[in-house]
Amino acid sequence: MSRFFVFGRLQMAKKIDETQVRHVAKLARLDLTDDEVARFSTQLSAILGYVEKLNELDTDSAEPLAHCLPMHNVFREDVVTESLDTELALRNAPQHFETFFKVPKILEDDSGA
């Protein structure tokens, strides 16, 4: 078996517990079941345990590299061009009303206001 396959078998203390999983799920707008929370806590802990490997490297003098090729900002003339047709843009909307995307009410009814 390859030596790369060894790391996953190491037992690690949980790096991300269920409370943290629930917090991250909230940030990511994902409703997770209790079963998923438990499973992700174990699996993400194993993955993050493996990622710890990065700390073996001294990166003090390395610049972070977000993009690997030389990129330049591209300017263009400020001219009006065609954009996506409204009907096409709304074609996949779960719900729409006339030319709008329709969503549930986000403010409570407040007859006093």
């Binding site: 991250v24 799920a25 997770l32 699996q43 590299l65 690997c68 074609r91």
Partner: protein, 495 residues
């Protein structure tokens, strides 16, 4: 007749159609006969467009009969991975959240194929949103390896690789974020090319990891990869990361494909390659012997940071994914939950119901890595390591024209073998990931078979924007071997 057609390469078929010796209609009919005979077993396609394809073929046949000019892929049946937008059919990304999505426009590469007069026969299966290495993460169907139906085809472009291997198309497009073209190409015994980042426009490719994603090709041989590159490589102002032809000129990749690279220097990284299975190491050694016999010089180099590529990748890719996939909000398109209690549930329940487990796992990992208190420790650290990995490549390319290594540490693994252990699945990407982190072109070509008669891939990497040379180096091996001509028995047209 049909078998004879299915054994042709794209280039041979294109030439015979152009000469009037074969009708595009016959080629499309042969491909659909193959799909109808095999795809129940292989599961490569999410959708097919038979009527549309037959009609397109007839139009091209008419054009050729009347002497009208036609494009470089005139009449050739091709497939597209189902994460590229088409203004016909659905674009599902193999996800429940986009199961019924009708893209309002064509991806740049789809326009290019259309302009080249290729005939699009269908859209292929993938790991949901291209996240995976086995195509087992598809929420819509399972694809099996045409060489052994108990094994995975690789992923995420598993459908494109399986369709090409089983001759259910002559070539296919795939996308490669961490090996998603090369690894399935290796597992299915076909040629998989990931061009340099920025060489092919990603307009209309559903985003996963935007600093890593690249569209490329799956073909039966290297010359076909060159032919496909001639069609899809171009600048496109709709993709801000598309490189202009002034910065890096595009050449005719096919023109000099049969010219050997003289004085070829090949770098290898012995310590790194030692991690592969015995069968794979032996195949690599035999491949290097063939290059030596062709006059190439093998140079051993050290690339100490390659071992850290997986760790850096799974932070960077998931961070980008967590941001890219925020667009699936249950509002603009895609699945919306039935009865949300409030507006937050429109997001959180729609996403919970629409995304599969691996997609959720990566969104979670990426969100965590970007969250307050962890950003420096994980994301920033990974970006710095990415720079060290790129520097390893820069140094290696000072000494050699290319680097050779396995495509994968093993041949195709069993269905179900790794699906319950995501980390084990990630570790199988060890050889492919660094090309994406460094933005380099890389190709996987068939270089042998293991004891179970499963294909083995040889991976070749070269400096940015040297696809022409990379393809010629790959072609040198291909012209001296016949691995690429072997077909899985199931395809019914083995030579």
């Amino acid at each position: 007749m049909a078998d004879a057609i299915l054994n042709l390469t794209c280039k041979q078929l294109r030439d015979q159609i152009a000469a009037g010796d074969v009708k595009s209609l016959a080629a499309v009919e042969a491909v659909f006969a193959q799909i109808e005979a095999l795809d129940d077993k292989v599961g490569a396609y999410i959708s097919t467009f038979k009527d549309r394809a037959l009609e397109a073929a007839q139009t091209i046949d008419r054009k050729i009969a009347t002497g009208e000019s036609t494009g470089p892929l005139a009449g050739v049946p091709v497939a597209i991975k189902d994460n590229m937008c088409t203004d016909f059919g659905t674009t599902t990304c193999a996800s429940k959240i986009l199961e019924n999505f009708l893209a309002p426009y064509n991806a740049h590469v789809v326009e290019k194929l259309r302009d080249a007069d290729a005939v699009i026969v269908g859209k292929t299966n993938l790991d949901e949103f291209a996240m995976g290495s086995s195509t087992e993460n598809s929420a819509l169907k399972q694809t099996v390896n045409p060489w052994d139906k108990t094994r995975v085809p690789g992923g995420s472009s598993g459908g494109s690789a399986a369709a090409t291997a089983a001759r259910m198309c002559f070539a296919a497009l795939g996308s490669d974020t961490g090996g998603s073209i090369r690894q399935p190409a290796g597992f299915c015994g076909v040629v998989g090319l990931k061009p340099t980042y920025g060489r092919v426009s990603r307009f209309g490719l559903v985003a996963y990891g935007s600093s890593l994603d690249q569209i490329g090709t799956l073909t039966g041989d290297v010359a076909d990869a060159a032919l496909m590159m001639n069609v899809i490589a171009s600048h496109d102002k709709r993709d801000s990361t598309s490189i202009s032809e002034n910065t890096a000129p595009i050449c005719d990749y096919l023109e000099k494909i049969d010219e050997d690279v003289k004085g070829l220097k090949i770098a290898v990284v012995p310590e790194f390659n030692a991690g592969a299975d015995r069968n794979v190491q032996n195949a690599l050694k035999s491949a290097l012997d063939i290059y030596k016999a062709l006059g190439a010089q093998i140079i051993e180099v050290k690339m100490p940071h390659l071992d850290y590529a997986i760790a850096a990748y799974y932070i960077i890719a998931t961070a980008e994914a967590s941001s890219n996939l925020a667009r699936y909000d249950g509002v603009h398109y895609g699945h919306r939950t039935e009865k949300p209690a409030d507006y937050v549930e429109v997001y959180s329940k729609s996403r919970a119901e629409g995304f599969g487990t691996e997609v959720k796992r990566r969104i979670m990992l990426g969100t965590y890595a970007l969250s307050s208190g962890y950003y420096d420790a994980y994301y920033l650290k990974a970006l710095k390591v990415r720079n060290l990995i790129r520097t390893d490549f820069t140094k290696a390319f000072e000494k050699a024209d290319c680097i050779m290594m396995p495509t994968s540490p093993t041949t195709a693994f069993k269905i179900g073998e790794k699906i319950e252990d995501p980390l084990q699945m990630y570790l199988a990407d060890i050889y492919t990931i660094s090309a994406n982190l460094a933005g380099l072109p890389a190709i996987s070509i068939p270089c042998g078979f293991d004891a179970d008669s499963l294909p083995i891939g040889l991976q070749i990497l070269s400096p940015a924007f040297t696809e022409d040379k990379l393809l010629r180096i790959a072609r040198m091996f291909e012209s001296k071997t016949d691995y690429h001509t072997r077909k899985p028995k199931l395809a019914g047209c083995e030579k």
